[in-house]
Symmetry: D2
Subunit: 351 residues, 4 copies
């Protein structure tokens, strides 16, 4: 089978011919039809995240090994099955849950494999979906999507969709709450759709792009704020009787954004940090206890969350937007375009 692989960090991806694996036991082999191109693929390709003071946090220090086939937003069809697999048949359309854990830690034991002590995620710690086929270690990680759902549209659900859903769950909103959503790209938009579907909180969406904000408004944001030319602190304080908001969900999560939140957070507010833009958090230590803030790191979601999300997507609640399609040979190009900010919406590779 052919795969687009990172052989060395920050070098062009190589198309390699690998042996197609054969599933045993509870393993299942998926023929990839659609593979989403995600920002964290760029980090895995570059080999680092940005830490405090601009210092790089290397992916190899987190246990990533190269050469690696990236890709963790995988939709496809069942190709072949290990002998213990039950309930799946050849050619069934499925999504792959990629946030696989080693199974023995406290997080895995309660089904939160995305928070495993020793993760084995596909496309990060094991070969992923930038390939014609991907091996899934157990059929329990597959979610059937049925013939009526498109694989291109569905592919972003296990990462972009799940990250938005996990963040909304972590914000734990009530109907009378006010929530700020920072960033109205793919994740932010899905978060707006999800807040609408499973809470009844009022939404203030913030970004620096008027076009995106218009879409945000259409998808359900009650108020939109362009951070470039509007005084967001004033807007928030007027909307909230000078009390501040009950929650902020930050899909950008860069240094500056966090410092400023202190001025718009209501006492008891939750600050849900999602984005991997990087940099540092700087906060007054006295304010955290006296104002009873909660700062919550939110990382993707569980398999159960994905099942719920697919159920929502089937009913049209969440609608990922696919804007660019690539062939497997163009995988490197896709990563470069994403890095350069040239993909609006979501890019998908069709191997």
């Amino acid at each position: 089978m052919r795969a687009a692989r990172i052989v060395n960090v920050n070098e062009p991806l190589q198309i390699q011919e690998l042996q197609t694996p054969k599933p045993k036991g509870s393993q299942i082999l998926i023929k990839v039809q659609s593979e989403g191109v995600c920002h964290s693929d760029v980090h895995v390709w570059e080999g680092y995240y940005e830490g405090i003071g601009g210092q790089p946090l290397k992916t190899t220090d987190r246990g990533v090994k190269y050469p690696l086939t990236p890709g963790h937003e995988i939709a496809g069809i069942v190709d072949s099955l290990g002998e213990q697999v039950k309930g799946f048949g050849k050619n069934e359309k499925v999504l792959v849950y990629p946030w696989i854990g080693e199974g023995m830690c406290p997080a895995c034991r309660i089904g939160e494999e995305n928070l495993c002590d020793k993760p084995r995620s596909l496309g990060i710690y094991n070969d992923g979906g930038y390939a014609e086929y991907v091996m899934v270690p157990d059929y329990k990680y597959l979610v059937k999507i049925g013939d009526d759902m498109d694989t291109d549209i569905s592919a972003p659900l296990p990462c972009a969709g799940l990250t938005a859903y996990g963040a909304v769950k972590n914000a734990n909103l009530k109907p009378d709450d006010n929530v700020v959503i920072v960033g109205t790209g793919g994740l932010g938009l899905m978060a707006i759709q999800l807040v609408r579907a499973v809470t009844a909180a009022r939404i203030i969406a913030m970004d620096i792009d008027d076009k995106k904000l218009q879409v945000a408004k259409k998808e359900g944001a009650d108020t939109v704020v362009n951070l470039k030319n509007e005084d967001y602190i004033k807007v928030v304080m007027e909307l909230t009787d000078k009390l501040g908001v009950d929650a902020v969900i930050d899909f950008v999560n860069s240094t500056k954004s966090v410092e400023d939140y202190m001025q718009i957070l209501r006492r008891r507010a939750k600050l849900v940090l999602v984005g991997l833009f990087g940099g540092e958090l700087r906060f007054s230590l006295v304010s955290i206890p006296t104002r009873a803030y909660k700062i919550i790191g939110s990382y993707t979601g569980s398999l159960q969350d994905l099942i719920e999300l697919v159920s929502l997507a089937k009913r049209g609640v969440v609608k990922p937007v696919v804007s660019n399609r690539f062939k497997l040979d163009q995988a490197g190009e896709a990563l470069q375009m994403l890095k350069d900010g040239k993909i609006v919406g979501r890019g998908v590779i069709n191997p």
Copy 2:
């Protein structure tokens, strides 16, 4: 009645003769027998907390008005009752819940008045217990302690005790968890007693004073670490199979302590910040989502928490230690001694 008051910030307390108030409606007047001397009294006296970069956060900016009678750890007896008071009789021994809210905000509505949007706490926003009498605006804020409990011993429960209890609740520990408790003064010790009583987590206590650490060990810490001369990171990592701890409760909460935690926190760990020492929190933004940390500001506790705590104290589970006793005239001296670190345990004023 006589009261020891802060007339101007950072000036000596003055003993003033005030008119003894008369309770109406659901109000109740308490004759103060024991009034705990708390570190936050020192902040109220000095007029500020330490913010980012050493900049002062002024108490007047938080709505404190002077002259003020400080004091929020009040134990005494019922003196006189408004006409709507039920269920209390003259001379009954009571504790006062001082973290009173304005009653209409979302926190107040679920009984978390300590987290009110517009707090009216006794000794901070209203006159407190450095006086012969204190007016309590509603008898529901009183907790009966019975004749068998000493007012000196009980006085620290509504602040020191409640703060420890609230922090332990926020850590939400399970029997197989490892928790680090930073600071083994009065609050830290009570936290150790409470972790023992209502969870079965393993406790690692840290401080810079061997004597305090010996007491911590006796009260139930499984491991103690002197931060002065032991490599706490090494100790923690050895105890936890190199995974780190599930929670840290920090009763000091100064700049340095927070930076270092990143090295001992297990994925998914909770960092419960309690102390008001001040300074700034600096944290890698990428680590918070990828490691799924939760940073939780913990501020005192609710009235229901105090009821539970008194129930525990009556059974000997929590034992505040009173080390110094003062007369009302010595209130200023008591604050100075506390500021200078000359009170080990808890100081109590007997007006």
Copy 3:
């Protein structure tokens, strides 16, 4: 002022001329504009609920005293204010939260006064809204509804609406859950609207009236079942892969309905019992632990719930339907009509 009162149980209501009370302290006097006519008013009028084996549970055994002005669904305007009232002005439109507790029990302390050990609810334990004026013991029990909301439409929110909302909260539904709602009258319809608004569960509505079921379908039920001529067990099992539903919310709650649920409950299912129709629950004892069922009694809701509900109603999420309007003189007639099943939707008294 004039009031329609129950002087003796099961006798015609009497219109009495009472002295209009004057508010003191934090009390507030409301001029009633709209007073909902509720099934539990009928029970209070008749003096009993139906217990096991048809035996009556007397209201006087639960502490109700007669003569009594019934009525707990009160919308009106502020008439006059006690001297401690803040934030309310004459003629402001408000809803009254009637489920007032005595303030000192564990439920009251966390804001669940509806579950108080010694309730003082308006219209049940104290005089309610079948009158020109009603005295509210504290202004914190008032919720402003603004000029844009109609009092007739709003009046059912504090009981019918809150009961539906409380039940939906107790069912704790997830997006992929299936829930059965039994009874599609006023409460059932609001429950359907609320399930739609704050969860994304699939709804199976059941009743014995095709017209009601059509409305249920229009308001968001995914499936409707007429219990008279459809095999609901078959319908449910087909919809749920023979597993059963995750929750049942029963707004009727009569003897027969409960027995049958065992056949449609999924393992781990919640059975939320709301209705006061009466009779007895009979269940196999072995099945409860082995099937891990939860049977949850749901009684109205908290003040915080009402605030959330009003926020939802203001945005059109919940729409109580008022079908009949009465004058105060017709209060007895209204009760009789409700008892005889002649009110479809909600009756409202305009004193």
Copy 4:
């Protein structure tokens, strides 16, 4: 290998010579050293539980197939390992978590396999521990106990211990709560030890045997009541200011016991039903909503619960008592003795 098997329900167990299975993949074969004899083994042997009106609920209707090797309280050593097993070595001492699910249902996905839609529990749906060896389908179901823990003492933890722990968790007790524990046999005693260890609630233990009640008192019950000759309603009401208790945990769960609880339950109380004695629950339907009761079926516990429980047992918090030891040949005799009430404490088979 030899196994003591139920060939036909209600007939004597037969010792059969079976082929010793060989582990593949992630399977692991355990050499049984200690196998607890549990009341539910008797039900599986008899082939039914008692339902409503004395009607039998047949085990075959629940999917049990015979011949079957019973036994789900298994402690032993690792004998041989499938090729994918990691982290376990030959002869390591382990406990087996027997409440295995099929892995794909909502309960399994959050690690509550004990509540699976289609359970595969060892000793009930698959061959269990009344044998020289038992095959465990995945090494994640094993919990290491270390050399310092005795297998006889540990064997009851995965069922008796876990059932007690699960029930205590379901009761969700707070420090000021009062809880009644009905039945002070093995499970009741462990529940008392666990309430002591992880809550600080006050315990009222009830039974009909003075000797057992003395032990209950020694293990931490605050009050004991002999149901034969004491008026338990009077005792409870006096201890609780006539309010009733916050929770009842019923390890007997027979028809009569449930009816009477209504008289000792505080408003909002939880009734946790655990025992499989059988019969029917009969309850006034009106009381459940108006009193806001919760009736909770509690069935064993999760793998995470077992990890926590073993951690507690290692520290001496829970101490199962083994009273009788049997050889494999005596398995049938052991079941008969248990059925006849001749085993006080726990019987253990040493194959």
